[in-house]
């Protein structure tokens, strides 16, 4: 009897979700893997099996590997800056300062603007507003558009991403800080823990669950960055800021090498999944219960 009703419950509650999950995620994913083994051009009715040829082409595609390297660089900058900044601001915003709710909302606002829009706004800021400031003040830093220099354009990308992502992470860290038990904090203070010691030995371990989720979110988002990349720099100047996701799209649709693009997407997926998985595993181990 028991198992029968379990089966019914499963059908009612899990099956619809499972079906959607399979239909929109697993099946397309597997189909995508299959496409990496063909020479399909995107529209043709014919798909010829080509084995691992596409992967060999990926190996030869130097641009892909350099864009992947750039993505790594970007991920490191974004993940570190976003999390340090968000952690710090969240800490400040949970100390009972005046108007802290207002600031929380304020910091979160950039996250409500879509990446494409954000990119265009900042493009205007970097190439027009900054240049005007440079003209008016003579500061050499703002003399030319940031987006026309490879190094500065990369910095611009990191800056905008940090600006966008921090708000979200602040929110999660704020929730984490609010969840810290007053008793534990007080006990720690009575035992003589203060300042950095308290941060390192009491607060950090208790905040580990927030850190896990924030690191995961920033890692996966930074690896898959496309919208800000497209609208802010579009890969300019001369393709030096083209991240991996953008390169994949260009490969598949502009160069019309569908199979190669798909294979690159798969490689990007595996790398991202491995790194995020490893991160979750490592940080989860450090989580403690108060």
């Amino acid at each position: 009897m028991k198992s029968k009703s379990n089966g019914k419950d499963f059908c009612i509650f899990a099956l619809p979700g499972l079906f959607c999950f399979l239909a929109v995620l697993i099946v397309p994913f597997l189909y995508g893997v299959y496409l990496t083994l063909t020479d399909w051009n995107g529209v043709s009715q014919e798909k010829n099996f080509t084995g691992l040829k596409n992967f060999a082409a990926v190996m030869r595609d130097g641009q892909f590997w350099s864009s992947l390297l750039l993505t790594f660089k970007y991920v490191i900058f974004v993940v570190v800056i976003v999390n340090v900044l968000a952690f710090g601001i969240a800490w400040l915003l949970t100390r009972g300062m005046k108007g802290q709710n207002f600031f929380r909302a304020g910091f979160f606002t950039p996250n409500l603007i879509g990446g494409i829009v954000l990119g265009y706004i900042w493009q205007f800021v970097f190439s027009r507003v900054f240049v005007s400031i440079g003209e008016a003040t003579g500061w050499s830093m703002f003399e030319a558009s940031w987006l026309s220099d490879p190094g500065k354009a990369f910095a611009a990308l990191v800056l905008v991403s940090v600006w966008q992502l921090s708000g979200y992470m602040i929110l999660i860290y704020v929730a984490g800080f609010m969840g810290l038990s007053e008793d534990v904090m007080e006990a720690a203070s009575i035992d003589g823990a203060a300042g950095l010691v308290k941060l390192k030995n009491i607060i950090m371990p208790l905040m580990m669950s927030s850190i896990t989720i924030c690191l995961f979110l920033t890692l996966s988002r930074a690896f898959m960055v496309y919208d800000v990349n497209l609208s802010l720099t579009g890969g300019a100047p001369y393709g030096t800021t083209e991240m991996a996701a953008m390169h994949v799209y260009e490969k598949a649709f502009t160069s019309r090498q569908f199979g190669v693009g798909q294979a690159e997407a798969l490689i990007l997926f595996v790398i991202t999944a491995c790194i995020s998985g490893l991160q979750v595993y490592l940080t989860k181990r450090k989580e403690v219960e108060a």
């Binding site: 529209v43 603007i113 829009v117 706004i121 030319a144 558009s145 026309s148 100047p237 160069s255």
Partner: protein, 456 residues
């Protein structure tokens, strides 16, 4: 409160920017950032005479038209509405939104089993799709009217050439005359030396950097660099031939005259570029404003730039026109006399999913555009394009299209368009950007071009 106000302002700003951003076309080749909803001064259409024979059995048929030329979206909807009024065939005009390239859109539409009956595509896309997807149009009557502008794939015609587009160095005659204080005759310049002398005189007269040079990869990679193929002998056939030679490694690019000449010319443009200090920071919209306002006198672009100029305040009565892209100092070289003008957008008919009735209705629509008095007027006036059909007596209204129209009819335009792989503009556009910014030299650029073709 202040903060809220600020965020509200920034939101408003972002929406405004979004709307401008969305209207620009990132991927299109020849028809670039323009506003599809822009109110261009419209010519009235005389609908009193209509001798076109409509097939009444097609009434009630629904067809779709994928439009990849953003600036004529509104105009095409009007054309569709008038056609429906007359023929009873409903034409649904689908736009390609920003972020989608025409080809990407076609790919997704075909994969969803819902392709458009008619689609306006770039020539390369037609060639890529024709044999498998398109209906053969070789037997259509309008073939005879579009002589010289047809694209053949394996000896068959799969597309109707919609418009002629041309490019060169746009001049603002009034500004040149005001700056130099003397009449300006564009025909008096026929060599690169003379062109450089003009630039020098403009600079001496106070217009220090009289020329705008777009940094966009489609402009540099497709419109500029492709001169090296298209001026081989001024025909599409010649362009194909030279590309084959480069691919096969039979032609040494470093010793190829046209490449060297092109770079000589490009270097001069670079030198007099209004944003020479930060060439990759140049802003496309600002170039139109600069030319209309007289901050510059010249702009390398094509007739699709008119909506931008109109938005910047240029009037159809103003005197704008094209100078050739001067390549050398031989006044008899066709490249120094003529500007490039060739069909740029093609209408392809789906032969795979469209029903016979839809195909017939679509063919009627194409015939109507070519033969009916109303269709002819609407192409030239409502859409403001240069129709490649000999029987169309209507002239386009804006000065840039008019100049190309006249040059085509006087034989002062060469019809060559190089068929290059789809990523040519993106990849070699980036190489050209690097050269423009002065971060690579001729040798590196030449090697990039050779490397690109070796990959193909």
């Amino acid at each position: 409160m202040k903060r809220k106000a600020v965020s509200r302002i920034s939101l408003g700003l972002s929406l405004a920017l979004l709307s401008t951003a969305l209207s620009g076309c990132t991927f299109g080749f020849a028809s670039d950032p323009d506003d599809p909803n822009e109110a261009v001064k419209e010519e009235t259409i005389d609908t009193s005479v209509d001798t076109f024979q409509y097939d009444s059995s097609l009434e009630g048929t629904q067809i779709t038209l994928l439009n990849t030329k953003a600036e004529i979206q509104v105009a095409l909807e009007k054309v569709g509405a008038v056609f429906e009024e007359r023929s009873g065939v409903h034409v649904e005009v689908m736009p390609v939104t920003d972020g989608d390239s025409p080809y990407t859109k076609m790919v997704s539409l075909y994969n969803s089993g819902n392709p458009p009956t008619l689609s306006i595509l770039d020539t390369t896309d037609v060639i890529a799709l024709a044999q498998e997807k398109a209906a053969d149009l070789s037997e259509e009557a309008w073939i005879a009217e579009a002589e010289g502008y047809l694209t053949e794939v394996n000896g068959k015609v799969y597309s109707l050439p919609l418009c002629i587009e041309g490019r060169g160095i746009i001049y603002n005659k009034t500004v040149i005359e005001e700056t130099l204080g003397e009449p300006f005759d564009p025909a008096s310049i026929s060599t690169l030396e003379e062109f450089e002398a003009l630039l020098k005189r403009l600079a001496a007269a106070g217009m220090e950097r009289p020329l705008s040079l777009a940094k966009e990869d489609w402009s540099l990679g497709a419109h500029q660099l492709q001169y090296i193929y298209e001026t081989y002998d001024g025909t599409s056939e010649g362009a194909r031939e030279v590309i084959e030679q480069i691919k096969a490694g039979e032609l040494d690019l470093a010793g190829y005259d046209r490449l060297n000449e092109f770079l000589n010319a490009f270097d001069i443009l670079k030198q007099y570029n209004v944003s020479a200090k930060d060439p990759l920071g140049a802003d496309y919209d600002e170039m139109a404003i600069d030319l209309a306002d007289g901050k510059t006198a010249l702009w390398f672009n094509g007739n699709w730039a008119w909506p931008n100029l109109a938005e910047a305040g240029a009037e159809t009565e103003d005197e704008y026109g094209f100078l050739p892209y001067f390549l050398n100092n031989d006044p008899t070289d066709f490249a120094n006399q003529m500007i490039q003008g060739s069909p740029s957008k093609q209408v392809m008919l789906d032969g795979q999913m469209a029903t016979e009735k839809q195909q017939a209705a679509a063919k009627e629509f194409l015939n109507w555009l070519v033969y009916s008095e109303i269709g002819q007027q609407m192409l030239a006036r409502t859409c403001n394009i240069i129709p490649p059909f000999q029987n169309n007596p209507y002239e386009p209204a804006d000065p840039l299209s008019r100049d190309i129209y006249e040059k085509v009819h006087q034989g002062m335009a060469f019809n060559a368009s190089a068929i290059v792989p789809n990523d040519h503009w993106a990849i070699l556009g980036a190489a050209m950007q690097k050269y423009l910014a002065g971060r690579s030299d001729r040798q590196e650029l030449t090697e990039s071009i050779q490397a690109y073709w070796d990959e193909q």
